[in-house]
């Protein structure tokens, strides 16, 4: 477990896909964050190099996995509630990684997130959504899992595999396609980790991160961009605009509060930071509520990475079409509550507030529908036709 002052971070991988990501982090960042793997399948767990691993629900599944049934996953999690409580105890920032669509990821993640947020932990979940070409049942399981998870986690960032396949080389194997999502999640977690732990030229601390996730909550937006060499900053900005997790370059208009963090190598100067900050402000607009930070990570060399986290307040949007639920009236923000110092005592309040408001807007049900996000989908033969045809058919589009 990695500690920074009072702050403790942990990444928990749930199910096969979730554990893969934790394995990956373990290999690339051995001295990093606390890593834990949870699975219901004993055999698959045995292959994981992670030390801190738990096979849960043996009484339910006999250690043979949840068989794609999320209710079994859930049962397993409830049966071993104490184990899960132990895993999240005393953690300030918990990352959950899971592949939704399977039984364990979809069933266990919401339970763990719920336990953690009850203890005042800030929970950020990165979940992969199944390919449309996988059977329809998986999409349903994933959709339900995502819904449950949204109710209990502070932020849920779904990564649709359909979209990420666009990043792979033509003729990539299915395995490579899957590993793309893993790589994205790895980058995302590392980026937030650097933000919290590396020396800051302009510091962003945990309370600011917490504020982004709990003050307004609403929906979560996440994007990464990187660049290297002489024009690293501009390259990174361009790269960010092409980030598959953000639909269009207009994303900044969609977020009420934007946290922009720059991570640069050792040669990253304050002058350079200034230049990038100007560029960022130019791109994201001055009037937007943008919080900016810049940190140094020696291992990056001449690379610059930009990480954007955005949230938006859904309470003033009056027209709700499609699946979005209006904010319940009981959640009328109390101004006094919002200005309270962010110490541990108050986390519970935030966690509670977030619980109901939480939603995401990068993807509706994990599907990118762009312009039609707020409309009722047109479902034909089990497919939402508002989602681009090329994504549903898994056609790779060079960009």
């Amino acid at each position: 477990m990695y500690e920074t002052g009072r702050m403790k971070m942990k990444v928990v991988g749930i199910g096969g896909a979730g554990s893969n990501i934790v394995d990956r982090l373990m290999l690339s960042n051995p001295n990093g964050v606390g890593l834990t793997a949870i699975n219901t399948d004993e055999q698959s767990l045995a292959g994981s190099p992670v030390l801190d691993k738990y096979c849960i629900g043996k009484r339910v599944t006999r250690g043979l996995g949840a068989g794609g049934d999320s209710s079994i996953g859930r049962e397993a999690a409830v049966a071993d509630k104490q184990v899960l409580e132990g895993i999240v105890k005393g953690i300030d920032l918990l990352f959950i990684t899971a592949g939704l669509g399977g039984g364990t990821g979809s069933g266990v993640s919401p339970v763990l997130a719920d336990l953690a947020s009850q203890n005042g932990t800030t929970v950020i979940a990165f979940v992969t959504m199944p390919f449309t070409i996988e059977r329809a049942g998986r999409a349903k399981v994933a959709k339900d899992g995502l819904e449950h998870l949204r109710e209990v986690a502070n932020a849920v960032i779904p990564l649709p595999n359909d979209l990420l396949i666009q990043e792979s080389e033509p003729g990539a194997s299915l395995l490579e396609a899957f590993s793309h999502a893993d790589a994205w999640i790895e980058r995302a977690i590392k980026s937030i980790w650097s933000m919290m732990n590396k020396t800051g030229l302009i510091n962003l601390d945990f309370s600011q991160l917490q504020q982004v996730f709990s003050h307004r909550a609403g929906k979560t937006l996440f994007g990464l961009g990187e660049g290297s060499g002489e024009n690293a900053a501009e390259e990174a900005l361009e790269n960010l605009k092409l980030c598959p997790l953000l639909h269009t370059p207009e994303f900044s208009k969609k977020a009420d509060q934007l946290l922009v963090n720059l991570i640069g190598g050792a040669g990253f100067s304050i002058g350079e930071t200034q230049l990038i900050m100007d560029r960022v402000t130019e791109s994201f607009g001055k009037d937007a509520n943008v919080v900016m930070g810049a940190v140094i990570d020696e291992s990056l060399g001449d690379k610059v990475e930009i990480c954007v986290i955005g949230t938006s307040d859904i309470s003033d949007i009056s027209i709700f079409r499609g699946r979005k639920k209006p904010r319940p009236p009981s959640l009328e923000a109390d101004p006094a509550e919002l200005t309270l110092p962010k110490n541990r005592k108050n986390k519970e309040i935030h966690a509670k507030k977030v619980k109901v408001e939480q939603d995401e807007f990068s993807f509706n049900e994990g599907d990118p529908r762009g312009e039609f996000e707020d409309t009722d989908g047109f479902v034909f033969e089990g497919q939402d036709l508002d989602t681009p045809t090329f994504l549903r058919r898994g056609v790779r589009i060079p960009i």
Partner: protein, 400 residues
């Protein structure tokens, strides 16, 4: 002294609102006397999502048309399209009871009423009953009156829509103190103009691809036997481009118009075109293949979904008259080739024929022209048969 009536065909589309005025002289001839258009706001996928915005746009278009013609509108024919329009076949049969086993007018009326009588859910309203040929002892007959047989069957394709959504559109027109005489499915209106009698007899399909919705109508033996609508259209192509190539919707829209083609033309993936072509910062090269592929996939999918919705009616041998495209989507390069590939029959871009001249010949005006044509037929019918019925009568109960 001629007795004339001014009718308006109004299409509230996702991209624009068109109002075409026609003067019906003596209930039998039609003169087109005015056209008003405005770009559309508050309409998404063919549905009205912002009443106020949509209302303003419609009123602007009506005003323009009235000013141009210098007359006031007496009645409106409104096109409907978009989501929530569905259809089902409804059938009924009666025994021919008269002693000479010849079908009487009473029996025809009885079987028709029975077939149309199927109850709909409360929030649904019938838009059209499309009559298919009668069947008399299992042979298809157009006019069974006085023919000999034992059993007469009537079959209709009933098109119904969300009463509330249709009511919204009617309410906008009523807000301008105008009376809606009838509502017509866009595809039927377009079909009556772009398809020739010969094509209708041989069996043909009319597909009207708008910005927010696609409508279709199948003709067989001269009559429309099946029609429908789905909320997928040109906007989806732009949206796909915007997501796939990470650009703003307006940029995607412009790329679609500049380079979009419904059938892949550039097999070479390396050829690139400039996004904005203005040499400014933010311009970047986009592979032409990617643009064409995204457009091709969406266009062929639109046709494929229509084909699946048609069921047996979408089979090649029933569409010998071919496929006729209309609406803005038809302007996409090679959209006819794309339809040919999907349906396996010849396809062409619809023309408005002898009815229109000048700019009205463009396929985007097919629907409003069709509305006027429909209105002309309707007027002459009202003259001979008396009281109009149709959807307006049914909706009145719901909204007043």
């Amino acid at each position: 002294m001629y007795k004339s009536k001014v009718i308006a065909g109004i299409e509230i589309g996702t991209s624009k609102i068109s109002v075409l005025l026609g003067e019906i002289v003596e209930g039998c001839s039609l003169n087109i006397i005015g056209l008003g258009q405005s770009s559309s706001k508050g309409v998404l996928k063919g549905d009205i999502v912002d009443f106020h915005d949509a209302s303003d746009c419609v009123h602007a278009a009506i005003l323009t048309a009235e000013e141009q013609a210098g007359v006031k509108i007496d009645g409106v024919y409104l096109a409907v399209s978009g989501s929530d329009i569905e259809g089902f076949p409804s059938e009924a049969s009666v025994n021919v009871t008269s002693r000479d086993r010849r079908v009487s007018m009473e029996e025809i009326n009885q079987v028709s009423t029975m077939a149309k009588g199927r109850d709909l859910a409360e929030d649904r309203a019938v838009i059209h009953h499309l009559r298919r040929p009668y069947r008399l002892d299992n042979r298809s007959v157009e006019k069974p009156l006085n023919l000999e047989g034992d059993r007469l069957e009537a079959s209709y394709w009933t098109i119904h829509g969300n009463a509330r959504k249709i009511g919204d559109a009617i309410h906008i027109i009523n807000g301008f103190n105008l009376h809606v005489d009838d509502v017509v499915l866009s595809a039927l209106a377009a079909g009556s103009v772009v398809a020739s009698d010969e094509e209708k007899t041989n069996g043909c399909l009319v597909v009207d691809i708008g910005q927010g919705a696609t409508d279709y109508a199948v003709y067989q033996d001269g009559n429309c036997v099946m029609a429908g609508s789905m909320p997928i259209g040109g906007d989806h192509i732009s949206n796909d481009l915007s997501i796939g190539l990470r650009m703003r919707l307006s940029q995607a829209e412009s790329l679609k118009h500049r380079y979009g083609t419904a059938v892949l033309e550039h097999k070479n993936k390396t050829e690139k075109v400039w996004l904005n072509n203005d040499f400014e910062i933010g311009d970047r090269p986009i592979p032409l293949w990617s643009i064409e592929k995204i457009v091709e996939l969406r266009m062929s999918e639109i046709f494929e979904v229509v084909q699946k919705k048609l069921g047996a009616y979408g089979r090649r041998e029933r569409l010998l008259g071919g496929v006729i495209l209309s609406g803005g989507g038809a302007n996409l390069i090679r959209s006819d080739n794309c339809a040919e590939l999907v349906f396996g029959v010849p396809a062409r871009i619809g023309e408005n024929g002898t009815m229109a001249s000048g700019e009205l010949r463009e396929s985007q005006y097919s629907v409003v022209l069709g509305l006027l044509k429909y209105g002309l037929q309707y007027q002459s019918k009202v003259g001979s048969e008396g009281q109009p019925a149709g959807i307006i009568g049914k909706l009145k109960g719901l909204f007043n």
